[in-house]
Symmetry: C2
Subunit: 366 residues, 2 copies
Amino acid sequence: MTLISFARGFPGPDLLPIDEFGDCATAALARDGATALNYGPPLGYLPLREWLAERHDVDVSRVMITNGSLQAFSFIARHHVQAGAKVFVEAPCYDRSLLILRRLGAEVETVPLSDDGLDLDVLERALAETDGPSLVYTIPTFQNPSGRTLSEPNRRRLIEVARAHGAVILEDDPYGLLRFGGERLPRLFELAGGEGAMLLSSFSKTVAPGIRVGFAILPEELMGAMQTLVFENYVSPVMFVEATLHEFVSRGRFDPNVEAVQEALRVRRDAMISALAREMPEGTRWNEPDGGYFLWVDLPDGLSAESLLAQADEVGVAFIKGPDFFFDGGGDSSLRLAFSYERPEAIDEGISRLGKLVREAVAVPA
Amino acid sequence: MTLISFARGFPGPDLLPIDEFGDCATAALARDGATALNYGPPLGYLPLREWLAERHDVDVSRVMITNGSLQAFSFIARHHVQAGAKVFVEAPCYDRSLLILRRLGAEVETVPLSDDGLDLDVLERALAETDGPSLVYTIPTFQNPSGRTLSEPNRRRLIEVARAHGAVILEDDPYGLLRFGGERLPRLFELAGGEGAMLLSSFSKTVAPGIRVGFAILPEELMGAMQTLVFENYVSPVMFVEATLHEFVSRGRFDPNVEAVQEALRVRRDAMISALAREMPEGTRWNEPDGGYFLWVDLPDGLSAESLLAQADEVGVAFIKGPDFFFDGGGDSSLRLAFSYERPEAIDEGISRLGKLVREAVAVPA
């Protein structure tokens, strides 16, 4: 039986620009090969930094391109933790960021997510009790893992709360452009006018993960420290792939590609939601995000996601269990489903397999 | 006046496979695009790891590919320093490695280089006085910065000395294949049969730095720790560029490309040595390496390389001053010249400019 995976947040192969990217590489080399194939500046390929600066209406000196956005998160986190910052994270939170914070020995405080994102009452109280620097790490749009989105009024309030307590916001926004329903919300970074907020994003979900091009928009005063971290790791990021990506965006292929990805994701989400409605027993809850890669399921009767996972392998379906996304416990009866990878028919079949397991578990007296 | 740079170890644009690499990208995507553009395994693109494993006669499980070999050095150093290892480095030593060791707060002991590489009498005494784990970091072939090469008998002795004292050797070999004269010497890694020695290398000098593909061959027991470090930084290295490089090597383009680079470097080295012989005043010493990117100059009369550098900018020539390559002082009257970047005519002109400065400095009474 072929495994149907709702586990990792991978795009399906049909979402990747496989037919176009080689030609972009050839054109990039013809135009600027001596730059694309040599060592480059630590913050990345200048024409691509300029394109990003223009799109985000900032000075190019504030743009850092890294080999994937996790590398930028790692650098930013290292810098702030070394400066003694306490880090506020969402519960649940992106698991790879949690791993990094754990390994840094960061002082971490979790803030629960309500249905529309970060619980700001809890955050406000926690910040009020915090001395010294603090960093609020959030994925406000189509959050990983929950698929939840912070409402616009709460975005404005989050910025106010952070400002009132001198906290810096790190907005991680890999999914924001992948909206296939509802209205676009401004980024925290935009609402804050780029002050007191840092933006982290990536081309992994809008173009392809295999190019590993992420970026961050940071305050000027951080750029020196970031360059030092680059020099401690890789001299310069991969010029060849950044030049190729720059060719792709220069041809005007970025926005049409994003639109195609949005449409494919919408079809996949619809397939997953229809199948969940058909298969899941009463008491199961899930959300219906207007974009991104993930949705979040709460199992009925406090069923254990870990037990479910142990059985899932046998029936050929995979997901990530809730507890993996909590810094200090929680999510025992929840799971993250990625609808990004499998085709709609496979999603339907995978949810059938999963639904059968959940129905059987509900039928067994605890 | 155009700057003529002997500073950074960049290949000249004419040494880069600009015309071929785009076609390799297209072919790699046609063959394996769904892998090349998605997230991949933390240790790199499997077919390229297999190619490296075969060339180095090791199991593929021991091969790690990173975004540039400095990233692998950084991971390996972090791991060993955290395990309490004392690190022995060459004096002079590659400056970027020194920066990393400094920032890690590593306990570093320097071992002088004699004309044929690491001074083994000094190393042996130092190891005898060391308790606990130790790591010997060396570039035995066409060393950066000195261009020196450890002789074969001394290679054998280094392995014996390290074994006798339980030290692990980290052999950094980015230049070994760029030999254009003399006889090939076996790598330390080969002589040690892959035991007690780690190999670090890169495609930066054999193909192109802008692809940032480095690799390390490590003991099995280190691979788990390396994967964790990858997950803390970038999920997976850049699959797209590794697949493109794999296409390049699969077409049999690697060895011919290396031969073309060797020949270009030979011509550049010859140009630099002729010009040095013509321009430099008596008492200036330099070596004549049979490969690599660099040669090392000792100025006459203890002239200061730093003072020379201050004047060099005005006459349009650049180099790196000796002290940058010493962990705890030294090299005041030395400089590193890279002959890799400039074309032969520019090398000739640049050495003329430099020679004039040195002759003037010698003429001034101290």
